[in-house]
């Protein structure tokens, strides 16, 4: 098998960041043991106390303490800019991931392949990792602030430990993580070796990282910890492992390729083996027999003679049990061979740096590689007296007790490295010294171009000093060619550059002592790729380099053997990225009372327009006249009369968008063409006009209505979204909303209401389209619509009855505690629950049965198997339904299950006949059938759309036809929060539920008809199935309380009831203020009260230096972009809102939102923050359009002056 060379390495250990420092540590047998850093103790204590306060278990009040060990004191430092990560992502990224990014980068730079264009993309990334259940970073983040979950995702998914590195470095080889606990990174090393041998990649990077929170209490001990944090492997006083933190990474390539490429070779991996203990007396006890077999296998794989070995880097955990077992394993393995006595030295890096668990393997590799490079055996730290249980005297082994030259055995410097995982995965790898390579190199005569760069000015300054130090001891080396070639080819070229043609080391030294960089200009031409070759003139290269040019190295790679010498590279500009845990005050203000489950409703209040404004005549308008209505014509005339450019399009039998009499057919593709037309013509104001006419009185008419009105809006929206056309869409309807006392109920048009439902979802799915609903009645004059179009209001809907204007207000409406009518569940009554075999339906059935002995018919599309067959069922899901039905039956009620599609009229009618036949009547219907909306409009097919619409629109209609026939007491429609506060992906769901809401408003009267707008149920139902039941703006509904609410709803009078609990404790609730619907004064007060309390709280906990805490609403970020440093108050307010949301410490006036990493959630929170402080409001689309702090502040200031 091919030998694999280690061509690059990097370590990150406590106070030990360079290979030189690491060598010093191990060769001088020092140890890094110390106390757990105080800054980290603070955070850990706060978090621990928080967790304990919420645990059911009661903890003894005791002072928290921490083990000593080898801990990093700079794990939170990270150069997020360098790695293209936003500050917020950096804070919420698992520190292991941050550490690995740094170490891998430094390793690839050490190998001389930091320059992306010189590097082989066929490079694999192999990471050894171990999960940390109960103590993982996501738990911490979730406790700090659950809303961080989304931004934290990619920073905490384990595969990213490797994948992000591949992504950042643009590596296309295999990219995997392996978890075998303490042997993980050694296993990863072996996997990398095999991958190169198998041809999966030409180069490979391997590494691991480990951080821990060493709480010293009984419950978190795993039994191997030493008493004082020191690891005394093989010593008589060994009493366990000391904990260690850090990271290591190496770069591998086949030995032949490494030599041909001129790479620096530290050592050579020969091969190895992995096995498992199998069954042992306990899961976590190691096994000497397995370890011995492991070595045999490893030797065979590496193709070496075991008697050539002279050093073993032991796993050496210094546990009383583990050390002797390891020694026994070694003895067993070597017993069949002819070793000299004391031929093989033993040692372990754990004595220096502690046990890094999953990262220990790679650090062992690096240690031995350095030993081989220096040809030196090192003294074992913390060793005084040999553990008598080892019995090494009669074995080939001895403990390495002093640092001295390594004597080869049979002319070989050969060593083995062991690592044994907690779960029994064992690994052993063979490693040898690098071969002597000839030092013949081509010498380049003549002047050389020296290039040098760093990512920032500060970094450059540090680099300059490093160069001065580096050169001052190397002036006598004849290395100018190698230095210059290394700098040009192998180092990454950053933005701050300098270059000089030099002919001697002295000249280079002189240049380096005074060098100052120019910043690479940001011009496209400067990024032309230049083909680098030996025949190029140096001053041409210099010019191109300083201009920011990129080089292609294809020619260069082909011809020369590239010199490589380890010159200084720039260091990171690291910033504190610690995610602080809030102080240990309860996160809720002490007197804050939760609502509990309550009910709300949407009412309408008069809200005249503040003034009379005409629509902007510089914009272009399109009126889509869906029904050939007079109103559309009047509106068109009146818009033209005010000087606006208006295009009117009818719906008819032809598709003609170019002529004078434009029309489209009711066909999706025509709407697509229409959207193209609209975009081409720059028409930004589109009005979808329908009128009320008669409500459909038969199925054909209903279907025609839905097709004409709802589908046309759906197709229009889809086409506009697909075009990403920035526009305002006005949905003009008649009689969709019920304004009590201002209109006759029988004029309500339910299909029109569904248009409004669809309309309010559109802006949630795209920032390009703003939507306004205007619901009028036939007598509303066209000019009123005109003035509404010209108005600049934040409400998403205006309703006109006559010409009085109303807007929505969402307010409390208590129905839980009172009884209002005689409507009730009858003894012996018959009840139909459509969608009844779902969790929610079954829960309702249970509720009914608990009230009275009743007959219950449950329907669903598939129904359930016949009762006779129930004993043969094995599917768990069906069994659980059956169990619930049984429990209902046990209460004395009858339950029948029927397969009925609620959108099929015949099935519904047939069911009705059957029920009348069996029971004589139907007393109540719960219409819960339906499926949720699960896709964006742009992805929604007609069938998916219809599948959501039909059970609720056609379904409700079919049920309504039965009302008279079955002498119904009540009909409860299961509507949704989506009809009031929808999220993206709920267009059809909101439309369908809005239909039901309007239906209930229209028909509620003699027969009790109510539409329940449910928020997500916590324990059952669709939300749980689709995993969306978590508390967001509204807390999820606990089943029992929800059912109580349902029962009371039947006995009360409002035509709709919104059921939920506003999640006042969560910052996300601020979003409710910016959805275009007014909130009642008491709701607003509670939201603002929460904000004030939270502000006070975080003001107490925030620290002023380093990054602001994630929820610091008074954070002061530094604004840049103006030379006099003078910023307006408005600019500061806007910048602070950006800083808080994105996490940046410094923001430039002209930074663009999307380029800073902003997206829709951060946009919404910035909009909320700004709207809280400004009387002029903005929305997400405007934020994206204005894009920079400067523009937003200017806009707000201007609008304020105009007001």
């Amino acid at each position: 098998m091919k030998d694999i060379a280690i061509i690059g390495m990097a370590v990150d250990l406590p106070n030990t960041k360079s290979l030189e420092a690491f060598w010093k540590l191990i060769s001088e047998a020092n140890t890094l043991v110390g106390e757990f850093p105080e800054k980290r103790q603070e955070q850990a204590i706060k978090h621990m106390r928080y967790r304990r306060s919420r645990s059911a278990h009661s903890f003894k009040q005791e002072r928290e303490s921490f083990h000593n060990g080898c801990f990093l004191n700079d794990a939170e430092m990270f150069d997020y800019r360098f790695f293209n990560i936003t500050p917020k992502q950096a804070q919420t990224m698992d520190p292991h991931q941050r550490l690995l990014l740094k170490t891998f980068y430094r390793a690839i730079d050490d190998a001389g392949y930091a320059n992306k264009h010189f590097r082989d993309a066929e490079t694999g990334v192999f990471v050894g990792f171990a999960s940390n259940p109960g103590n993982d970073y996501t738990t911490y983040i979730n406790d700090v602030d659950p809303t961080l979950g989304q931004v934290a995702l990619t920073g905490n998914v384990p595969c990213m430990l490797a994948n992000r590195i591949s992504h950042f470095l643009d590596l296309h080889g295999p990219s995997t993580i392996v978890d075998s606990a303490c042997s993980a990174s050694l296993v990863a090393t072996l996997n990398a070796v095999k991958a190169i041998q198998a041809g999966d990649c030409r180069m490979a990077m391997v590494g691991g990282a480990r951080l821990c929170t060493p709480i010293a209490d009984q419950s978190s001990k795993i039994g191997i910890e030493s008493s004082d944090g020191k690891t005394r492997t093989f010593d008589a006083r060994a009493d366990g492992t000391g904990l260690g933190e850090g990271s290591g990474a190496v770069v591998l390539k086949s030995l032949d390729d490494a030599i041909a490429d001129g790479d620096n070779i530290y050592a050579v991996l020969k091969g190895g083996a992995i096995n498992h203990d199998g069954f042992t007396e306990s899961l976590t006890t190691p096994d000497a027999g397995a370890q011995s077999k492991l070595l045999e296998k490893a030797w065979a794989n590496a193709g070496i003679k075991p008697t050539d070995i002279s050093y073993i880097e032991a796993h050496g955990t210094a546990t009383k049990v583990g050390d002797p077992i390891e020694i026994n394993g070694l003895k067993k393995a070597t017993s069949a061979y002819d070793f000299h006595q004391h031929q093989v030295a033993l040692g372990t890096v754990k004595t220096n740096i502690g046990h890094l668990f999953e990262a220990s393997g790679i650090l062992s590799v690096i240690k031995v590689a350095l030993m081989l490079q220096h040809k030196s055996l090192v003294k074992t730290a913390n060793f005084v007296t040999e553990n008598p249980l080892l019995n090494l005297d009669s074995s080939p082994f001895f403990i390495s007790k002093e640092t001295r030259d390594w004597t080869p055995v049979n002319s070989k410097y050969l060593a083995g490295i062991s690592a044994f995982g907690l779960g029994g995965t064992n690994c052993h790898v063979l490693i040898e010294a690098a071969p002597q390579t000839s030092s013949e190199t081509e010498h380049y005569t003549g002047p050389h171009l020296f290039t040098c760069s760093a990512p920032s000015l500060q970094s450059f300054e540090r680099l300059k000093q490093d160069w001065i130090d580096y050169l001052s001891t190397r002036l006598a080396d004849d290395n100018l060619a190698a230095i210059c070639q290394t700098q040009l080819l192998r180092r990454q070229h950053h933005a701050f550059r300098t270059a000089k043609v030099v002919s001697s080391m002295e000249e280079l030294m002189a240049f380096v002592s005074h060098m100052s960089p120019t910043q690479r200009p940001n011009q496209p031409e400067a990024h032309d790729v230049f083909e680098l070759s030996n025949s190029m003139n140096v001053s041409t290269i210099q010019e191109h380099y300083l201009a920011g040019g990129l080089f292609s190295y294809e020619k260069a790679k082909q011809h020369e053997r590239h010199l490589y010498v380890k010159t200084p590279s720039p260091s990171f500009d690291e910033v504190d990225c610690l995610l602080r845990f809030p102080d240990d005050i309860s996160l809720l203000p002490p007197n804050f009372e939760r609502d509990g489950l309550v009910t709300f409703c949407t009412r309408y209040h008069e809200k005249p327009l503040p003034g009379v404004n005409l629509p902007d005549s510089s914009l272009k308008y399109l009126i889509l006249d869906i029904e050939g209505s007079a109103k559309a014509q009047e509106l068109s005339t009146i818009l033209s009369a005010t000087g606006c450019d208006v295009t009117r399009v009818e719906v008819g039998n032809t598709c003609d968008i170019t002529g004078d009499n434009k029309s489209v057919r009711l066909v999706e593709t025509d709407f697509s063409d229409l959207a193209t037309f609209v975009k081409q013509e720059g028409i930004s104001q589109i009005i979808h006009v329908t009128h009320s006419g008669e409500s459909a009185d038969n199925t054909e008419a209903l279907n025609a209505d839905v097709n004409r009105k709802l589908n046309s809006l759906f197709w229009l929206a889809k086409a506009l979204i697909t075009q990403s056309h920035k526009c305002r869409l006005t949905v003009l309807t008649e009689n969709a909303r019920y304004i009590e006392h201002k209109m006759a109920k029988d004029t309500i048009n339910e299909v029109n209401a569904s248009l409004i439902g669809l309309g309010i979802v559109i802006p949630r799915e795209t920032p390009f389209i703003s939507v306004k609903s205007i619901d009028i009645e036939p007598s509303t004059p066209a000019r009123t619509i005109l003035f509404e179009l010209g108005a600049n209001t934040t409400q998403r809907m205006a309703v006109y009855r006559g010409d009085i204007r109303y807007t929505e207000v969402f307010e409390y409406n208590d129905v839980i505690s009172s009884k209002y009518s005689d409507c009730d569940i009858r003894e012996g009554g018959t009840y139909l629950i459509t969608g009844g075999t779902g969790d929610l339906g079954l829960a309702v059935a249970q509720m009914l049965a608990e009230k009275s002995c009743v007959n219950i018919v449950l329907t669903s599309r598939r129904g359930l198997p016949a009762e006779a067959d129930w004993s043969d069922i094995h599917e768990e899901e069906i069994l659980s339904k059956i169990a619930k039905i049984r429990s209902v039956q046990a209460l004395g009620s009858k339950v029948l299950v029927k397969a009925v599609d609620a959108s099929d009229r015949d099935s519904v009618r047939q069911l009705c006949q059957e029920m009348i036949g069996s029971f004589g009547k139907i007393d109540g219907i719960f219409h819960a059938a339906g499926i949720p909306g699960t896709g964006l409009i742009s992805n929604r097919s007609q069938k998916q759309f219809d599948d959501v619409i039909q059970p609720k629109i056609q379904g409700t209609y079919f049920l309504s036809e039965l009302i008279e026939e079955v002498s119904l007491d009540f009909l409860v429609l299961f509507s949704s929060v989506a009809a009031v506060f929808p999220t993206a992906g709920q267009s059809d769901y909101s439309a369908a539920n809005s239909y039901m809401d309007a239906f209930a408003a229209k028909h509620n009267g003699k027969v009790r008809i109510v539409s329940m707008q449910w928020c997500a149920w916590k324990e059952i139902g669709m939300a749980v199935a689709y995993n969306t039941q978590h508390d967001l703006t509204f807390k999820s509904i606990p089943t029992e309380q929800g059912l109580d609410c349902l029962y009371n709803a039947i006995r009360h009078t409002p035509n709709h009831i919104f059921v939920g609990e506003v999640n006042y404790t969560d910052k996300i609730v601020d979003i409710l203020k910016n959805l275009g619907i007014d909130l009642s004064a008491d709701i607003l007060e509670k939201i603002d009260h929460r904000t004030t309390m939270r502000t006070n709280l975080t003001a107490l906990t925030a620290e002023t230096e380093d990054l602001p805490t994630h929820s610091q609403s008074n954070c002061q970020c530094t604004l840049t972009g103006r030379s006099d440093g003078d910023y307006t108050a408005m600019e500061i307010v806007v910048a602070n809102s950006w800083a808080e949301s994105l996490g940046y410490e410094e923001i430039d006036l002209d930074d663009e939102f999307l380029q800073l990493g902003g997206e829709s959630i951060t946009a919404l929170s910035i909009v909320s923050a700004i709207n809280n402080e400004s009387s002029v409001k903005i929305d997400v689309a405007l934020l994206l359009e204005l894009s920079s702090v400067r523009n937003i502040a200017a806009y707000l200031t201007e609008e304020l002056e105009v007001a």
Binding site: V612, L614, T637, I638, A641, T642, P781, A782, R783, F787
Partner: protein
Amino acid sequence: MATKVLMFPGQGAQYKGMGKEVFNLYPDLTQEASARLGFDLVDLCLNNRDNLLDRTDYTQPALYFVNALSALQKAPDVPYCIGHSLGEYNALLYAGVFDLFTGLELVKKRATLMHQCAQGAMAVVQGKSPSELQNQIEIFGFNNIHVANANSATQVVVSGDREQLAQLLAVLTKNTKTKAFLLKTSGAFHSPYMKPAVAAFNDYLSDRTFNAPEKIVISNFTASPYTALNLKENLANQIAGRVRWHDSINYLLNTGLEPDQFQEVGNTEFLTKLLADIALETA
């Protein structure tokens, strides 16, 4: 050139302090007027307590009487006269159709009837012709706005529903070349809103007798001279009908009269300015 036409202004020309030159010159007449009216005319004009001067049932008699005294004091003897809305009564007085106090009585009745119909408002629009304005009104569906006075080719007064007027004004003034603002009148005069007043006034006039005019008085309603025959009819219709001022002035100009032969009675200059605008139209 010698003055040939006297122009008498109507409502809108009232102002606090009016009449102070003439009350002292005609103390007996003034006192009788106050007695007949039932309130202190001088106090109203000079002090305008509670802004009553802008209430039509006070504005009209006060303005009529003050301008009647002004005419008595200074007006030359001319063959033609014309009055804008209320001012028509001063013109008829000047032409001898009735005497001072009969006129006052008529005006008082007119004013009371109009006050009882008082709802709505009026606005003046500068920059649109009556037909252009009518067109806008129709397009916007302002069914409760009517052209009240066609004062010149580009000055129109509209009457009607207060809210619709506010909307109309906002719409009109979007075009910066158009100026429009509400008038200080307390009702939607010269519009169908006044129909009830017309009927009642007709009844009131029916059994009264008047003299034939001794001067040529151009009627607001017909834009042509009053005759003994059409007197009562024109007077009654004038309340709800459009004031065809533009046409009336053009009628006079077309007889060969020059603008500088017209003279406005009273201290205001509205009619003089209008005349200048109208004269420019044909120039």
